[in-house]
């Protein structure tokens, strides 16, 4: 059977970069093809070519065996190709129906919008593929996962049969991601073909029919989930063996460094989002807070780091009460914070790397003498950290905005970990990063722990929590429902607790599962 889509020898050059190097790709009807590669490997460029945003320098595109030229997204849509972008292209103040109709208006009496007819069609699509949406809801009121469904409906409304998903899970919670996978499955079962771009190995193994790996703009191999595992895929992606298991030695926890007692935090609408939380972190210990995003972790971290006022409770760092301390006072006590949103909180994007590397310490000697900044010292310091932490940047004066995500995160890691610290709060330290970067950052965090630093790790990625933590704390609806040593729980048990199952039940359930195969 002819593949529904074929790319032959696609090549795209940017000044100084070969973004795509003679890429061949076949996509069959009803197939989910995963396109795996690190950030900057050329996946997105390839898809932008397919979607008509770039023109290839060489190569051709065939649809159903016939050569096509795609000059614009409109051409792509007409050829049956649709793309769900990483960042949604929706208008928040329009309803679902209005957004779906935009550019493809259903009309009656000449130029009047026929919302009813359109809404009916949306409902049909929604039923057929199990994409639950309410046509009259405003986009701004919808959770991210539902917004993504609207994007998918937009494509189906335009009769797209080849769907491209660009890093679709980056913005989703684990549950939303699971829902998305079942939607993708149902789409492919009904004859649609899907290209799924990602750098997350687990997702690829879960959902893909076939896997294609791209590195430095070229195809380095193809495989299927049953012939591959995480390690082999990572090695293909990165081009060398990657150690996904973090090497970590057993270690006795030291003195109490950080503790929270009965902490209550309210959000700006005065809802209690952190409810009576108590927690201890000892020297040389990584405590991982597991939980689905939005269960109060963000607010807990903000309260701990002085960015948000707490309503009740006590926070102690190195036997000092820091409940009402300012972020700077907490930093000066020897605490470091890797923030959840690196671009919004952790960096001043237009500023050069060197200035970002002293963002929390610029006002102190040796970076300032009196009020005068010592740019020479700041630059020397930057050169040293760029070297030590392997930050890939053209120079210390390059604006951080032009670095890749992984290197931006390294700037933050370098800044926070290079200081003498006793306590580290790392909030989603590897969000959106590729395998190589994750490996590196995990190593650095464990290294800090081995040096005797107390580490509080917050992450919705269960794998990360399981690999790094000495102790696991599960947060659910603002409360801590479990606090257990890592060795006493399995991943499945923590997963159940994250979904709100009480620890006693989860542990019992988990044991059954653990026992079953033995029987």
């Amino acid at each position: 059977m002819t593949p529904i889509l074929q790319l032959k020898g696609i090549t795209k050059r940017f000044p100084g970069v070969l973004a795509n190097d003679h890429i061949d790709l076949d996509l069959h009807k009803g197939e989910i093809l995963a396109l795996l590669g690190e950030n900057g490997a050329g996946k997105t460029t390839l898809m932008n070519i397919l979607y008509g945003l770039y023109q290839p320098d060489e190569g051709e595109i065939l649809i159903g065996g016939e050569k096509v030229i795609i000059n614009s997204p409109t051409d792509a849509i007409n050829a049956g190709i649709g793309m769900v972008h990483q960042h949604f292209m929706l208008i928040p103040v329009f309803t679902v129906t209005e957004n779906v109709m935009l550019g493809e208006e259903t009309v009656k009496y000449g130029d009047f919008l026929d919302r009813k007819k359109a809404a009916k069609r949306i409902m049909d699509i929604s039923k057929k593929y199990n994409l639950q949406v309410a046509p009259n809801d405003y986009i701004r009121d919808l959770p991210v996962g539902v917004q993504q469904r609207v994007e998918i409906i937009k494509l189906l409304y335009r009769d797209a049969e080849i769907l491209i998903f660009d890093e679709p899970t980056a913005v989703l919670t684990p549950q939303e991601a699971d829902e998305l996978f079942s939607i993708m499955r149902s789409l492919s079962d009904q004859g649609n073909s899907i290209i799924f771009i990602t750098h997350k190995l687990r997702e690829v193994l879960d959902i893909a029919d076939r896997i294609m790996v791209i590195r430095r703009g070229a195809v380095v191999g193809g495989t299927t989930p049953d012939q591959a595992d995480k390690n082999s895929l990572a090695a293909m992606m990165v081009g060398r063996e990657v150690n996904l298991e973090v090497e970590k030695t057993e270690k006795e926890a030291g003195d109490l460094v950080f503790s929270v007692k009965g902490l209550v935090v309210a959000d700006k609408f005065q809802n209690i989002v952190v409810n009576n939380v108590s927690l201890n972190v000892h020297a040389g210990e990584i405590v991982g807070i597991a939980g689905v995003q939005g269960n109060g972790q963000t607010e807990l971290v903000e309260a701990i780091t002085g960015l948000r006022k707490s309503a009740e409770g006590e926070i102690t760092l190195l036997s000092q009460d820091i409940t009402k301390a300012s972020p700077r006072q907490i930093t000066e006590l020897g605490s470091a914070h890797v923030p959840e949103d690196r671009q919004a909180d952790g960096l001043v994007l237009p500023f050069p790397v060197a200035e970002n590397l002293v963002l929390c310490t610029y006002y102190k000697e040796p970076f300032s003498k009196g009020v005068i900044l010592q740019y020479k010292t700041i630059l020397d310091h930057a050169e040293k950290l760029i070297e030590d932490f392997d930050i890939r940047t053209p120079s210390a004066m390059t604006p951080v905005s032009s670095l890749s995500g992984g290197n931006q995160q390294k700037v933050i890691i370098a800044r926070e970990l290079s200081r003498p610290i006793d306590f580290l709060v790392a909030s989603q330290p590897t969000r959106g990063l590729d395998v190589g970067s994750i490996e590196y950052i995990h190593k650095r965090i464990v290294q800090k722990r081995d040096e005797g630093c107390a580490v509080l790790l917050v992450s919705p990625e269960l794998d990360e929590i399981m690999e790094l933590s000495d102790r696991i704390v599960v947060m659910y609806r603002g409360q801590i429902i479990a606090d257990l040593p890592n060795k006493d729980v399995t991943k499945e048990q923590v997963g159940l607790m994250m979904a709100g199952v009480l620890p006693e039940e989860a542990l019992a359930e988990g044991d059954q599962h653990a026992v079953e195969p033995a029987l």
Binding site: F14, P15, G16, V17, A19, E38, N39, G40, A41, R215, R216, V238, G239, R240, V242, T305, L307, S326, P327, R328, Q329, T331, H337, P339, A344, D345, G346, L347, V348, L349, P350, F351, E355, L359, C360, Y362, Y363, S368, V371, I372, L373, Y375, R392, T393, P394, M397, T398, P399, S401, S402, L403, S404, G406, N407, D434, V435, G436, S437, E439, Y440
Partner: protein, 427 residues
């Protein structure tokens, strides 16, 4: 995050880097330096070309000439434009022939008179520099200070009061005192909206506009009441300031060139130093660029907002003070020809960088000054210069227009983005 927007916002930074680079590194930044100044230069050129059409279109003699014959119309139009721009040039820079003759004759007075147009342009530029710095500093700290005009009036009033009411002080005390009083008045007027923003979140754009109205009416009342000149018959004009408060002019009348111009340059340097060389400046720029990151880094955003508005207001106040102490010597309501509002445009042309502000101010001062002569000699209405300025500003503020006209390439994101494949990628 909209990267493009950010890059535009920090175009001044490129210039800063250029200025701070040692020679070895500066080569790599040359292109970006040219990128920064091509747009303003082309905008000025385009403004002058469009202005030429306007001059021709508004001149009655051109119409009469076209009535006679087409060729005559064209030549008249060109001669009109030529004489107007010649007047603009001689009025703002000076008449080269006259300067040459004066230099040759060696007569001091002749020389002064010949170079006076140029000096007068610098006189005109002085308040622009202060006011432009006020807006630029505000922008750097993330504050849109539209209240420069009001702060300027309050600063002028304070300087005037200290200038005439305090008596018997030596020059080296009285003059700085009056100057500082102007700065403090402006600082207070800027601090109020800053304080409101920091404590209540009230937006500074609205509050500074409102503070403008209060300032205008307040100075009007002061000048016709408590601060009025005795015997002025209720005219809103202040007494003349004491001689000891006057900022000295270098040459005999009518040449008004004064020490204040060098004060302005000094302040431009000071603000540059403050913004880019001190921790206070980094503090302000961080808050201005990313308040969330500033908070994360332990800075106090409200405190910085208040300080930023106060300094911005102080600079605006100094603009008013300098006009009173060095040029007008007494205060009347016609003190400002809209310095406060033009300064927003100045800061924009100057990329919010002190050096850029000084250059843009001199350009504005020159245009303003030349316009007067253009009006006298060629009977071109001074409004044409307003139109010219407006066009130049529009073109600067919307670089896309200039790029389209001159087919300049948009700085491409792909070209500047650093392509780094994941680290750990080996090789």
């Amino acid at each position: 995050m909209d990267k493009k927007q950010e890059k535009q916002k920090d175009a001044g930074k490129v210039l800063i880097e250029e200025l701070n680079q040692d020679e070895k590194e500066s080569a790599t930044h040359k292109r970006s330096f040219w990128n920064v100044i091509t747009i303003p230069l082309l905008a000025i050129l385009s403004g002058l070309i469009i202005g030429a059409f306007l001059i021709a279109a508004t001149s009655t003699s051109v119409y009469t000439a076209f009535g006679q014959s087409f060729g005559k119309g064209i030549t008249t139009a060109f001669s009109e434009i030529g004489s107007a721009y010649a007047a603009l040039f001689t009025g703002s820079i000076g008449d080269p022939v006259r300067i040459f003759n004066a230099l040759f004759s060696g007569d001091k007075e002749q020389i002064y008179k010949a170079i006076n147009p140029f000096l007068e342009s610098l006189v005109q530029a002085t308040p622009y520099i202060f006011a432009g710095l006020a807006v630029a500093l505000g922008f750097r700290a993330g504050l849109f200070n539209i209240g420069v005009e009001g702060q300027l009036f309050i600063g002028a009033a304070c300087a005037t009061f200290v200038g005439y009411a305090v008596k018997g002080l030596p020059v080296y005390i009285h003059m700085p005192l009056a100057f500082i009083a102007g700065g403090l008045g402006g600082a207070l007027w800027g601090f109020i909206p800053g304080f409101l923003k920091a404590t209540t979140g009230g937006h500074e754009v609205i509050n500074t506009i409102m503070m403008n109205y209060i300032a205008f009416r307040l100075t009007e009342w002061l000048l016709s009441g408590p601060m009025t000149r005795p015997g002025s018959g209720g005219m809103p004009i202040s007494p003349i300031i004491e001689e000891s408060a006057q900022i000295p002019q270098f040459f005999p009348s009518p040449i008004r060139f004064h020490l204040g111009f060098f004060f302005a340059l000094g302040f431009a340097w000071l603000i540059w130093w403050l913004l880019f060389k001190t921790k206070w400046g980094l503090n302000m720029r961080t808050v201005g660029t990313n308040p969330r990151a500033a908070k994360y880094a332990g800075l106090s955003v409200p405190k910085t907002t208040m300080i930023g508005m106060a300094i911005s207001g102080a600079l605006a106040g100094l603009a008013g003070a300098i006009q009173i102490l060095a040029v007008n010597r007494s205060m009347a309501l016609g003190l400002s020809s809209g310095y406060g509002f033009d300064s927003i445009a100045l800061a924009l042309i100057g990329n919010n960088h002190p050096v850029g502000v000084v250059l843009a101010s001199i350009l504005f001062g020159t245009l303003r000054n030349g316009a007067t002569r253009m009006m006298v000699v060629s009977r071109i209405p001074i409004d044409i210069v307003d139109v010219l300025q407006a066009i130049i500003l529009m073109l600067v503020a919307a670089p896309a227009i200039i790029r389209t006209i001159y087919r300049l390439k948009e700085p491409k994101e792909e070209e500047t983005t650093v392509f780094v494949s994941g680290w750990g990628g080996g090789q």
